[in-house]
């Protein structure tokens, strides 16, 4: 598992940005959680599509 110190170095180009913690990264590819997000994102997209036609 990639650690935060692998991607951020003090005063490097990316020192002032946010980086995901291992917790966040785990849920990005957690199939059960992502299935819930799949439903949620689809609903939000369908609303935007309907508003745009």
């Amino acid at each position: 598992m990639q650690k935060l110190e692998d991607v951020i170095k003090p005063y490097d180009q990316n020192f002032t940005t946010m980086v995901p913690t291992p917790f966040v990264k785990f849920f990005r590819t957690c199939v059960i959680w992502q299935f819930i997000r799949f439903v949620h994102i689809n609903i939000k997209m369908i609303i935007v599509v309907m508003k745009s036609h």
Binding site: Q2, N14, T17, R28, V31, I41, V48, K51
Partner: protein, 488 residues
């Protein structure tokens, strides 16, 4: 009987043609003129470019689809428009030049009652020395703009991976190849798919991947960035873009105009006036876009291209081209009907219409080099505009007094899914919606967009959506049963 001629068979032109055919009776003709024999689902080209799809997965032949639908198909490129006819006739017509293998180079005149310009962009590789000649890709870099380009890109990428496996450190540079490019999203997808594939190939630690683009901040994407409601904050897309680049260990060069490309090296100028060089073993740089070079000819044979087209070659429509400086820009500058102001039977849709101005704030280096993204008109807006234009023309054919339909990018949203790696259980993509596409700072002061309908997140769900959309839109484009139920 009326004849509708559509120049271009991409997302916008194909959408316009197929809906016009559906809405018009058989007594009317629908003709599509496009230089390509295949239809290409361009958003999936990035997967061809990393070897995760084949060319055959992203294209299909247009001729049988049009034959079945009752659309006349001309494999040719449009050359000139004669809106008032010629000395012998008042009938409007276009001239085309065949690109079909058996009749290549032969010219023909096609008369029309209504004309849609959906020719898309000219890939202007020649704008940057070394990037290519005219519309032809050069020898130093690769492209994913067409399916064939993407096949070539993957072949070159695999050579780089092979060298990395052999212990030879490799440099990869991805981004935009000129100060006035659009389509940063395609380069964004490609760089993260390369990162994903390099990890799968076990060579990521031997490959240095770097981003270079004309955006003044990461996450601009040619739409001036966006804000989304996350954790109780209206958070800028810059935060999320920088976060992703950091997480994937991809450094970036932004505000860059690539001024020259050589073998293994690009030269660039930055917004602060400094210049630099970047070496590479493999590079994919998006070219700037221009109009395809159509000319317009008056009845007496004189050139009237300036009347119909903007200087960049895109067709003038009902936009406000006199908005001037950024401070004067309004959402209402953007076109609603896409009708040419000189000829009411002529429309443009997709990339082919001339936008009134960029969406991102124009910037330039101290030397005066313009460095900012030009506005995207692809994907969902392109399809919606094509459909609206077809609707307008069908109504006008049935009732000459009918009012054209409206589909302003300043009042429509867009859903966008940007792949960051392909895989059923380990793929990710950024799923985004923006509403509206063009920020309206009068209606939504400060952010320009409605936070309730502008959101984004990255994850496996986004990848599933992108993969499903790939099959869904190809199904729709093939006019399979129920195709009209699938929205643009």
């Amino acid at each position: 009987m009326a004849r509708l001629v559509i120049m271009g068979g991409g997302v916008s032109g194909h959408t316009a043609a197929t809906f016009a055919r559906k809405w018009l009776g058989k007594e009317h003709e629908v003709v599509v003129v496009t230089p390509n024999s295949n239809w290409n689902w361009i958003p999936s080209n990035i997967w061809v470019g990393v070897g995760q799809m084949t060319k055959e997965d992203v294209v299909f032949p247009l001729a049988p689809v049009y034959e079945k639908a009752g659309i006349e198909f001309k494999q040719a490129k449009a050359v000139s428009i004669h809106p008032d006819g010629n000395a012998d006739s008042d009938t409007s017509y276009i001239t085309i030049e065949s690109t079909s293998a058996d009749t290549a180079g032969q010219t023909e005149e096609i008369t029309y009652d209504y004309l849609i310009n959906a020719t898309g962009p000219k890939l202007n590789f020649g704008a940057t020395p070394g990037l290519g000649e005219g519309t032809n890709l050069g020898e130093h870099t690769v492209s994913v703009c067409t399916a064939d380009h993407a096949v070539h890109a993957n072949e070159e990428l695999r050579k780089v991976f092979d060298k990395a496996k052999a212990g030879e450190r490799q440099k990869i540079l991805i981004g935009t190849g000129h100060g006035m490019c659009t389509c940063q999203g395609a380069a964004f997808e490609y760089i993260f798919n390369i990162d994903h594939e390099a990890k799968k190939a076990g060579v990521r630690d031997m490959v240095d991947i770097k981003w270079i683009s004309n955006e003044s901040f990461l996450g601009d994407f040619g739409i001036g960035g966006l804000h989304m409601n996350r954790g109780g904050y209206a958070a800028s897309s810059r935060l999320f873009a920088e976060s992703l680049y950091s997480e994937r260990q991809i450094p970036w060069i932004i505000g860059a105009h690539v001024s020259k490309v050589e073998a293994g090296k690009v030269h660039y100028e930055l917004l602060d006036g400094s210049t630099g060089e970047e070496e590479f073993d493999f590079s994919m740089l998006i070219p700037p876009f221009a109009g395809v070079g159509l000319t317009a000819v008056a009845k007496d044979g004189s050139d009237m291209t300036d009347t119909i087209f903007a200087p960049n070659g895109f067709m003038k429509v009902d936009a406000n081209y006199a908005a001037g400086d950024y401070a004067n820009w309004k959402a209402s500058d953007w076109p609603e009907t896409y009708q040419n102001p000189t000829y009411s039977n002529m429309f443009a849709c997709g990339i082919a219409f001339a936008p009134p101005h960029p969406i991102s704030k124009p910037m330039s280096s101290p030397a005066g080099t313009p460095i900012f993204p030009t506005p995207p008109r692809t994907g969902m807006p392109s399809g919606i505009i094509g459909k609206a234009v077809a609707h307008s023309i069908c109504d006008m054919i049935k009732n000459p007094d009918a009012k054209p339909h409206k589909a302003s990018m300043a009042s429509m949203g867009a859903a966008c899914v940007a792949s960051a790696g392909k895989g059923l259980t380990d793929g990710t993509a950024a799923a985004l919606t923006v509403y509206p596409v063009v920020p309206d700072f009068e209606k939504y002061p400060g952010l320009g967009r409605d936070l309730n309908y502008t959101f984004g997140e990255i994850g496996l769900a986004g990848h599933w959506i992108k993969h499903i959309l790939h099959h869904l839109f190809i199904y729709k484009a093939k006019l399979k049963p129920g195709w009209t139920l699938i929205p643009e």
